[in-house]
């Protein structure tokens, strides 16, 4: 079983990101489960949401405490939240940022990737300048980082859930897939 944790802020589409990922993994033949942190969501407040995927039926019905990989949709969270909490050694951390963090010491023992999801979202007019909706760009980068799910599966999930704005979201996925910078293991 693989467990994924998304960090974001209320209003950034963090929960939707995990739903889309779950739907894409399901399309790709996995059993899936996705859910938000069982809490109260407010705009701007830190939000967590999760995806579980496995080849067989997923029986575990608890919060995700030891994720295999983590995505951080808002780099300002890095100052207030320990995004590596419970992360398994060697796990990937994807950060929405044009550049890698200046101090890499908190990420020792993990793998790091970053993508400028804000810029990609703005290029495709997703959200506004102050509140870009970065979730689909993050999923595209994530798919490249893990080598799954396939882009066609993500596109199908977007067409199901974001039908009104499917094309620009799918383009954001493709751009992020191409542009994500995979730094890999941090010593």
């Amino acid at each position: 079983m693989i467990e994924i944790r998304f960090h974001g802020r209320g209003g950034q589409g963090t929960v939707v990101a995990t739903i889309l990922l779950a739907k894409a993994f399901f399309q790709a033949g996995y059993q899936v489960q996705s859910f938000p942190f069982f809490g109260v969501e407010r705009r701007g407040a830190p939000v967590e949401a999760y995806v579980r995927l496995d080849r067989g039926k997923i029986l575990l019905r608890t919060n995700v405490t030891t994720p295999d990989h983590v995505a951080v949709q808002d780099q300002t969270l890095l100052h207030s939240i320990n995004v590596t909490r419970g992360l398994k050694p060697g796990g990937w951390i994807l950060i929405n940022s044009p550049s890698p963090p200046a101090d890499l010491t908190p990420y020792a023992g993990f793998q790091l990737a970053h993508v400028d999801a804000n810029q990609i979202a703005l290029n495709h007019r997703l959200g506004t300048r102050t509140h870009p909706i970065v979730n689909t760009a993050m999923i595209g980068a994530f798919a490249r980082m893990l080598g799954m799910p396939p882009l066609e599966a993500i596109a199908a999930a977007i067409e199901e859930d974001l039908a009104a704005d499917a094309q620009s979201n799918i383009e954001a996925v493709r751009d992020a897939y191409r542009e994500v910078c995979l730094l890999g293991g941090i010593g």
Partner: protein, 389 residues
């Protein structure tokens, strides 16, 4: 077709497929997603139903009592405080023999203000004359909601389909959503046995003197007993159409089990995982999942538990001054059976705390290592409370 659906939406899909005619609800977390999507279906014309907005849950149940008496299929959903506010009219719905269906998302009662799972809200309605079905996953939620209409209408009693807050209501997972034609083959249209009809006026809810009231109550008792038989028949019809069956209880590896967990709701799923691990280590464990609280499947429970050396009931609820509510029910089912196994009661996951495989394994270990229960209930995973091993 299998789709990745939220538990709340699994309820809503079943309500749409059941062609409910009147929906009334008052929003309360964590139930909100159910009626949110149903109101959207009504607005978009995907359902031919009236959606009645009301000022409280009490009014909501009153509205459904009126609508169901007028002869239509009705539905509502609520949680926690909302269900508590409905309490008076829950008795009215069953007493008036109205087959109203409700989705109840288990939410802890306040104070402390808590929107997370705790079954005490629905269990506190145990004696209102409603049938209650507890669900384990999104598929069971959808299937049970469809079955609920059939069962309610065949015995003229209301049904509550109960699901865990967040662990089920807000969790997306693959769910097989049947087509309308298949559902129509399973679920007959609602034909009221009595209704408001100006052509044939009659009285509803009049004064009933001591000479008749007891018989009316006895009829409800008989209908509730009948519901257990009808549930089996409805499951047969459902299995013939959809090839899925749950049972009033489900016995998992109980044949040779020495210690049997008794579970309800989503923690059953996690317990299945713990069971795989225990079995792999050679431990003779089993699970008895209870789906029906009312009517309570006494016979099946006695039958499935009779071979066990010990029974460990896990309650995500509590009756103050007594104990876990399912533990009480199981003890009551067993007490007249000679040489029945001792029943250990464990309280876990109250107010939305995780019940982990490790906690379930610890429950197994404590049960295995004690000859007899030392107290009515053992509270699992408490902070800052020390008790001797």
């Amino acid at each position: 077709m299998k789709r990745v659906l939220e538990g709340s939406h699994a309820v809503a899909e079943a309500v749409r497929l059941a062609k409910v005619q009147v929906i009334s609800a008052y929003p309360i977390t964590p139930q909100t997603h159910i009626v949110e999507i149903l109101s959207e279906y009504c607005t978009k014309g995907l359902m031919n139903a009236r959606f009645l907005r009301v000022e409280s849950e009490h009014s909501c149940m009153a509205a459904l009592i009126g609508a169901q008496t007028a002869g239509v299929r009705t539905f509502t959903a609520t949680s926690g405080q909302g269900l508590a506010l409905m309490h008076e009219l829950l008795h009215w719905a069953s007493g008036a023999r109205l087959p109203i269906v409700m989705a109840e998302v288990n939410r802890a009662l306040a104070p402390g203000w808590n929107i997370w799972v705790d079954q005490t809200d629905s269990l506190a309605q145990r004696d209102t004359g409603w049938i209650q079905m507890y669900c384990e996953d999104g598929q069971e939620v959808l299937d049970s909601t469809l079955q609920a209409f059939y069962l309610a209408e065949s015995v003229n009693l209301p049904v509550m389909v109960v699901l865990d807050a967040f662990y089920l209501s807000h969790t997306y997972e693959p769910v097989d959503v049947p087509g309308q034609e298949a559902v129509d083959r399973f679920l007959p249209p609602y034909v009221p046995k009595f209704q408001l009809d100006t052509a044939h006026p009659c009285g509803f809810g009049p004064l009933v003197a001591p000479g008749d009231y007891m018989e009316m109550r006895y009829h409800i008792a008989m209908a509730m007993d009948d519901a257990l038989i009808r549930f089996g028949e409805i499951e047969d019809a459902f299995a013939a159409q959809f090839n899925r069956r749950y049972g009033p209880v489900e016995a998992i590896e109980c044949e040779d089990a020495e210690i049997i967990f008794v579970t309800t709701g989503t923690l059953t799923s996690t317990c299945r995982l713990a069971l795989q691990d225990l079995r792999a280590k050679g431990e003779k464990a089993g699970i008895l999942k209870i789906k029906l609280l009312r009517p309570f499947p006494y016979e099946r429970i006695r039958e499935e538990l009779k071979g066990a050396k010990k029974v460990a009931v896990i309650d995500r609820n509590f009756s103050f001054g007594a104990g876990g509510i399912f533990a009480q029910e199981v003890r009551a089912a067993l007490c007249n059976t000679p040489d029945h196994p001792p029943v250990f009661g464990f309280i876990a996951g109250i107010g939305g705390r995780d019940v982990t495989p490790e906690m379930l394994t610890e429950i197994y270990r404590q049960t295995k290592n004690s000859d007899a229960p030392q107290k009515e209930s053992v509270w699992m995973g408490l902070h800052e409370v020390k008790y001797a091993d």
